[in-house]
Symmetry: none
Subunit: 202 residues, 4 copies
DNA sequence: AATGAATGAGCATTCATTCAT
DNA sequence: TATGAATGAATGCTCATTCAT
């Protein structure tokens, strides 16, 4: 009798894949991509190292998938607030504020996703995602230009600059290690104001 | 004949150190700090691995010195244009424009210096340099606030955001691989405009 | 077929551990603990260097285990004859004689176990074992003091001195390289007599 | 003109040799023979590493000479008290007591000289010295046998056993880390008593 | 004679990947 | 399919020794 992938085995297979991704993500959270080891990921997933290679062709692919998974969640959140009803200014304000707040909260992950390098392969993936972020922001900027709220500007470049500005402010030298909520709220507000000024100045 | 540290031997010594730093820098250019290996650095410098340890106490120190050397040059250039005569706006314009142009030219190195992490030790050094950059920009922003050219704003946060915006725009998804001079000039101009708007908007 | 830790694989695993310990012990015999190298141990065991780290967390642990294994055997033998029936004098006589004879046979190992230092970690272990030896002798001495066979004396110090006297006599300058059985039997007898005199003199 | 080793240069040469030996001895005192490095010895002597090789053909020879120098001093002290006027018992008592006290004081050095292994070459040297010690003790024991103070016994074996007993007691598990003077005086007394009992028991 | 920079073999340790079971 | 023991190349670092100056 021929072996057939039944729904059951399919779902089981997925379960295992998910488990591996989840363990990997946890490790990234704990210590960045540098903290990922096939052995560690396998152990946390209660799976043999060899098994990992059933689901991912190499460590690099696993890392890429962890990255993709984590980023897609964040990306969908950005997309959501970008597309809400409201004026572009309001939506941009909300999107950036929440973006920044999430980054502060999940500082470690944010760093790993935004800045920490792993592989040239992963760098490629990261670039794609940054482009995806930029696209969302860019569309919103264009809407704002249409309504006259934002000044004429190359939307893609502004979008990119915004991502950079926020990332740097949150990850760079000012980053509030202590995560003092008041402090970080002020930081968020200031950096978002900076961006909005750049968008709307005549 | 008594051995003496002659000018010749002294210069040779320096030559060796320089050679090691140069080889290291080249490797960083080719593949980031992750590309640095004692063996590779030594081989490229036509020197035994042990020799490296005559000039640098550890791999980390070598990396730090490569980093420091490369960054100090850049920092001094920023400092120079920041302190030129002229209105804060003009000076900021020029500083950012040149900063951006240099970053475009030495894209790979810029990435390695600005974004790529290696060690926690190096991260510390990088943070110091970013703070140094930010300080230069910050002072200039405060001058601009005094003259009324720039609006009231937390100068350090704005400075940081500017660094992020430029870094991202030049290193991130838009970065012109081909270094088309016209293209990159436009990019530079747009990103600098973005920053100046953020600084001066009322 | 599901992978399972079968008795076969289990025994193989043990075999490997034993093989590594045995190779290590052989190397100690040939040149002391200083002769132990991960590479050498692995090669002799027909195993990759990495494999060693499956069974021992570090070189130090391997050394300690080699030491412990070899010493525990000896210690148990001493314990056994110490606790036999008979007068303290008889038991001490037999214990020391056999202790000395074993040391003569395994001269090199005896030296490595008793005297050669490797690590502060191992030194700690050695001290524990020497104390264990001393404890056995000490108890026997105290019994002898009770029965009046041995004179009043600080039993622990005497025990230690005995160990030293025997070790030195067997390992030191007199040591019969050639292991001439008659010669070494006489040596054993003389040194044991020395110890017994010290114990029982009024 | 032919170069001639004048008294001046000769003495200078000796000075340098002495300096190297002294630095080496200091390093042994600080951390045993394992603490000796050509570079360290040279630095402490304010001399280049290459210079060391003018006076000693290898590290091993340097170590041996350090060992020899240190041991000869001790050996001459033993010889002196051994040959004093007085009954063999008295002289033995004094010699052993002082021997033990010196060992306690210079615990680290004593350990390095008596037990710490370095090289097989050095081991050979150590054996020679132990034999030298044993010879001194042996002669004294024979005198004691002549006078009837000590019982009939193979003097060389007893001498060796004495050295072992004292070494072990002072270096082994009982060793007073804290060098409490009262404690160590008692230890010295007990161990010397042990040896004298063994020598004189009928 | 003296120097000390250069050498390079040697070390312990890690970890992505493979493959017999 | 799943397992996990085995692999072995690679890494950073040390240090006795040499040799051009």
């Amino acid at each position: 009798m021929v072996y057939r992938a039944t729904p059951l085995t399919e779902s089981k297979k997925m379960e295992c894949r998910e488990k591996l991704l989840a363990s990997g993500l946890k490790l990234v959270l704990e210590g960045g991509f540098g903290n990922i080891t096939i052995i560690k990921v396998a152990q946390r997933s209660q799976v043999a190292t060899g098994t990992m290679y059933r689901y991912f062709s190499s460590k690099g692919e696993l890392c890429e998938d962890i990255f993709r998974t984590a980023t897609e969640i964040e990306l969908s959140k950005v997309a959501k607030t970008c597309q809400q009803p409201g004026t572009p200014t309001d939506r941009m304000n909300q999107t950036l504020t929440e973006f920044a707040q999430r980054a502060i909260k999940g500082r470690r992950l944010a760093y790993a996703l935004i800045a920490e390098p792993v592989d040239s392969m992963l760098d490629e993936t990261r670039l794609q995602f940054r482009r995806a972020y930029a696209n969302h922001f860019s569309r919103l900027i264009e809407e704002g230009i249409q309504t006259g709220e934002f000044c004429e500007q190359p939307s893609m470049i502004s979008a990119t600059a915004i991502i950079g500005a926020i990332s740097e402010a949150l990850i760079g030298p000012l980053s509030p290690e202590n995560c003092d909520p008041i402090e970080s709220q002020k930081l968020t507000h200031d950096i978002v104001s900076f961006c909005l000024r750049a968008l709307s100045a005549k």
